[in-house]
Each structure stands twice: as C-alpha cells, then as structure tokens.
C-alpha cells in the first residue's frame, strides 16, 4: 500500500487541497484530502469593508473567475436592496462574463492537453487565449481582475469605437475553436485516453450536488444563466450543452461546445446592446439578506449577503463552484490507474496552477516519485496508446493546422 499526495496548492478561495491517493500497484483504492493552503479568510475580511470595497475583494477570490464573483456579489446585493440595473449594463456584464468563459475554457483545454502529453495543444490553446486577454486590456484596462462590475451597473462603458475590434477578435477566434473541437472529437488517441475514464453516475452527481460543466457532462440539465437569468442571458438566443456519461471526454466536449455558445452570445450582445446609462443610483441599503448566483466557467457561483443597515455587510458567504465539484473526485478516481489521476482531477477544472506542482510519492518515508514523474507516467500512457493504434508521435493532432 502506497500513499501518493497530490497537491497541496490550490488557488481559489477555499479550494486549495492536498489529495492523498492510496494505491495498490497501479490501481487507486482510496483517496483523502486536506485543504487550507489558500484559505485567506476572505469572508471575514469582507465584514470590515464597504460594499464598494468588497467588490475588489471578491474579484480576488479567484483570478480566473474575476468577473463571476463580482457579478454574483452584485446580484446578491441587488437582490437584497431590490435594485434593477440598466439594460446596457446587463449586456456589458454578459459580454465580460462570456469573454471570461472563453479564456477560462481555453486555459482548461490547454492544460488538459498538457496533462496527457499533448504539449502542442497547451501552447496552441494558450496562444488563442491571448487575443481575449488583449481585449480585456482594451475594454477594462487590465488583463485579469477587470474591476468592471459595481452594485447597480457597471463601472465602465464599452466604447462604440471598440466594437469592431471586439467583433474581429471573436470572428478570428471562431475557426480556431472549430478546429480544436474537430481535433478533440476525431482524434482516436484522445478518445482512447479520455473515454470512460473518471466516470460518475447521475445519482452521484445529484448526491454530491455538483454544478456547472461537471454536472452538465453527467446529463444534469442545469445552468444558472437559463434557470435564473441575470445580465442579458434571457435576451439572447443560446442553448445549454449537455453530455451523457460524465467521463473526462464528455466534460471536454461540453466545455468545447460551450465555447461556441459563448461566441454566439457575445456576437448577439454586441449587435443588440442598447445605448443608455450604465449604472443606477444605489439607495441606502436596509437591514436584510440577499442571495446572488452566477454561472462561472466552472459552475454556479453563490454569494449570500446579510446587512444590518450599515456600510459593510455583516456576513458574506461565498461558495465557489469547485467546492462542490471536488468531493466527486473520490468516487471518480477509485478503481482508476495512477496515470489517469491527473487528467481526472483536471477534468473538474479546479482552478489549475495548483496541480502544477508538489506531487510526491512517499514510500516508507522515501520520496520515489515527483509530480514530473507522474506527469511522465500520464504522457507515456498516451504514447503507448498511440503506438498500439499504429500512430507515431508526428501523427498526433494531424488536424491541427493554422
């Protein structure tokens, strides 16, 4: 019996983690975890900040979801105070949130490729992610942490002269996304590597209350954007993508197809965005409580705010999507091999950079295997499958053409 720790670093609010996989030979028989590495006590800090300052704080819950948390927080305060935001602000919120989904899913796809030994995919996906960050810098002034949202609307307008530029980036991106989708769906090696791996049933998904693409991949029809429309999602035409089996492949497919839906939403929003004010005056906030939700790239993001009538919230509860998705790792990973452990963890899309480091195999107190060794193991499996199927490495991603 050997114990392999994965972790410990994980960068979202309460989600840093250390997984301890218990293995027998190649097979994983049990799994346990420890979090707290990134626990920064954000909910406590928020109690000493005004509502305006809180926005900057919740933006830093997670760097990748830095539009989702502020929108969820605004939704919660607006729910509490009964504020209706202007039409134009709704469209701007949707545009920012969907651009974020594009960059986040591309980031995920790149890293997923990296974990199974397709470094080319990593570099390509991240290359096409750059123009979106360029757009963010153009629209908001910052590549990450956009500071666009405020209670009662948005902080900055999208200028009319920027619209053609945004449209162009999105137009340029679409054929690349189609290429990625084609490649991911057609590549036999990828299918062999991801299909049927890390499965979990619909019942597990319901019991563990999973959210977002992880739930949709298991066939659970939920999406906050449709179920409780905020921003401009009820004003544009799009559809919820559903998978069936909940394995790694279906999660990848759900995310990739969602990219195209995001492109669709952005195009419509850009075209139909009305002119007008971008924010409303916020009335005095009375004692009360409010709940706000947002569909972040990783799933439903939840904020609960309680006010006693003062300038600061007396309680802010934040629930990031990964918090509900991570516990399913246990049911998904047991019975799989060590070489699949990384891609199964990756498929939940836990905010990543954590899984990048500090994975060690400790055998009788002696380190025998590092994160890079485990990664090599995963990549070797891909190569083995390639050889068995009669491909050589140059054949990998033949579809990948500019």
């Amino acid at each position: 019996m050997t114990i392999i720790p994965i972790g410990p670093y994980h960068p979202s609010l309460e989600e840093p983690e250390l997984f301890r996989l218990t293995v027998e030979g190649e097979k994983i028989v049990d799994c346990d975890w420890k979090t707290s590495y990134n626990h920064r006590g954000i909910e406590r800090i928020a109690e000493g900040k005004t509502y305006d300052q809180c926005l900057f704080l919740v933006e830093r819950v997670c760097g990748i979801c830095s539009a989702s948390h502020p929108i969820a927080f605004c939704n919660a305060v607006e729910d509490m105070a009964g504020i209706e935001i202007p039409e134009r602000a709704r469209y701007i919120r949707s545009i920012i949130a969907e651009l974020e989904r594009l960059h986040s899913h591309l980031l995920w796809f790149g890293l997923a490729g990296h974990y199974i030994g397709y470094n080319t995919v990593w570099m390509w996906a991240w290359r096409y992610r750059e123009p979106i960050l360029y757009l963010f810098e153009k629209i908001t002034g910052n590549r990450q942490s956009y500071a666009m949202m405020k209670v009662g609307g948005v902080r900055q307008d999208i200028k009319d002269e920027d619209l053609p530029d945004i449209m162009k980036v999105v137009d340029d991106l679409e054929p690349k996304l189609n290429m990625f989708i084609g490649v991911a769906l057609d590549d036999p090696v990828l299918a062999a590597r991801m299909k049927g791996v890390g499965k979990f049933s619909r019942e597990d998904a319901i019991n563990y209350c999973v959210v977002g693409p992880t739930a949709r991949a298991a066939g659970i029809d939920m999406d906050v954007r449709r179920d409780e429309p905020y921003a401009a999602y009820d004003r544009v035409d799009w559809k919820v993508i559903l998978g069936e089996s909940g394995d790694v492949l279906s999660q990848a497919v759900v995310r990739l197809l969602e990219l195209l839906e995001s492109v669709k939403i952005i195009r419509q929003c850009l075209r139909e965005m009305p002119h007008g004010p971008i924010s409303v005056e916020v009335p005095e906030i009375l004692p009360g409580e409010g709940i706000g939700r947002e569909e972040a790239p990783r799933g439903e993001c939840f904020h609960y705010v309680r006010s006693d009538g003062g300038n600061c919230p007396v309680r802010l509860k934040i629930r990031a999507p990964t918090y509900n998705n991570i516990p399913t790792y246990k049911v998904r990973v047991i019975g799989e091999t060590i070489s699949d452990a990384t891609i199964i963890l990756a498929s939940i899309d836990p905010c990543y950079s954590c899984t990048e480091r500090m994975i060690r195999v400790v055998e009788q107190g002696r380190e025998t295997m590092g994160w890079s060794d485990l990664l090599t193991l995963s990549q070797e499996k891909t190569k083995r499958i390639m050889r068995e199927m009669g491909f050589n490495e140059e054949d990998a991603f033949r579809g990948l053409r500019i």
Binding site: K34, C209, Y304, R315, P327
Partner: protein, 147 residues
C-alpha cells in the same frame, strides 16, 4: 400561486413542527425551523422535492449561531429555499445533514472549523479549512474573536 406553494407544501408535510416562512421576493423563500427539525425539513426538500443543496452558511448573531441551508430548485418558480436554524452559542450542536446529502460533508466540516458547531452524526468532522497548527478551540468567525 406557485410561490406560496412551497411554503404550504412544507407546512403540510410537517404539521406538528413549528416553523415560520417568509417570501422575500418571487424567487427567494426563507423558512425558519427549530434546530431539531432542520434535518427533516432539508431532507424532505432534497429527497422528495428534488432540491439541490447549494451550500450552507453560518452566521454569528446576538441570539446564537444561525445555520442556513440553501436549496436550489432550478426548474421551479421559487428558485432558492433557505432553511434557517438557530443554534445556541452555549451548546452549538445540530444534526448533521451529511448523512442525507453527501454533498453537505465539506461545508459542515468548514462550519465546524470556523464556528465550532458540532454536527451530530457527521461521518468525518476533521479539520478542513484551517491550518494544521491553528490553535484548538479558537473559532475565527465568532464575534468574540474579532480583533
């Protein structure tokens, strides 16, 4: 009215339990229950009405620690039903929901860490959120601890 529905349904299901319900807005319902009844009510919402547990929050108030279970009903008119139970600070104990809903295990461990609430019957109440060397018996989210 669809919104009234859920309150009537819960009250009709548990006629002998004292509870008080409030419709904050068309899609927000708050139900206050006694802490002994919380598991029954949340279990009913989860198992029979098909609600999804979003999360639980703890709030430290003058009267005691409030534990709120937020249940989502994505396909219904009432989007979020919050079940609220008050736990006295002197004996912070409540029945664990993790037996009924496996997805509640983590959030109850977290509330245990931050508020010192004991969840009776929780399968695994080890420390989750706070550091290994955090002092025992110190709960950062209780008012007395605020610097």
């Amino acid at each position: 009215m669809a919104e009234e529905d859920i309150i009537q349904m819960v009250k009709g299901r548990f006629p002998d339990k004292a509870m008080e319900a409030r419709q904050a807005s068309p899609n927000r319902v708050y139900i206050n229950v006694k802490k002994e009844d919380a598991r029954d009510v949340v279990g009913y919402l989860f198992q029979e009405l098909g609600g999804r547990l979003i999360t639980a929050s703890g709030v430290d108030t003058r009267a005691g620690i409030e534990i709120l279970y937020h249940m989502a009903f994505d396909k219904k008119q009432y989007k979020i039903v919050t079940v609220r139970a008050l736990v006295p600070k002197a004996f912070p104990e409540i029945d664990s929901m993790a037996i009924v809903i496996p997805g509640a295990a983590w959030i109850e461990r977290e509330i245990h860490d931050l508020f010192g609430v004991n969840f009776i019957g929780h399968p695994d109440l080890r420390r989750l959120i706070l550091a290994d060397d955090w002092p025992e018996g110190k709960y950062p989210y209780l008012r007395e601890e605020k610097a």
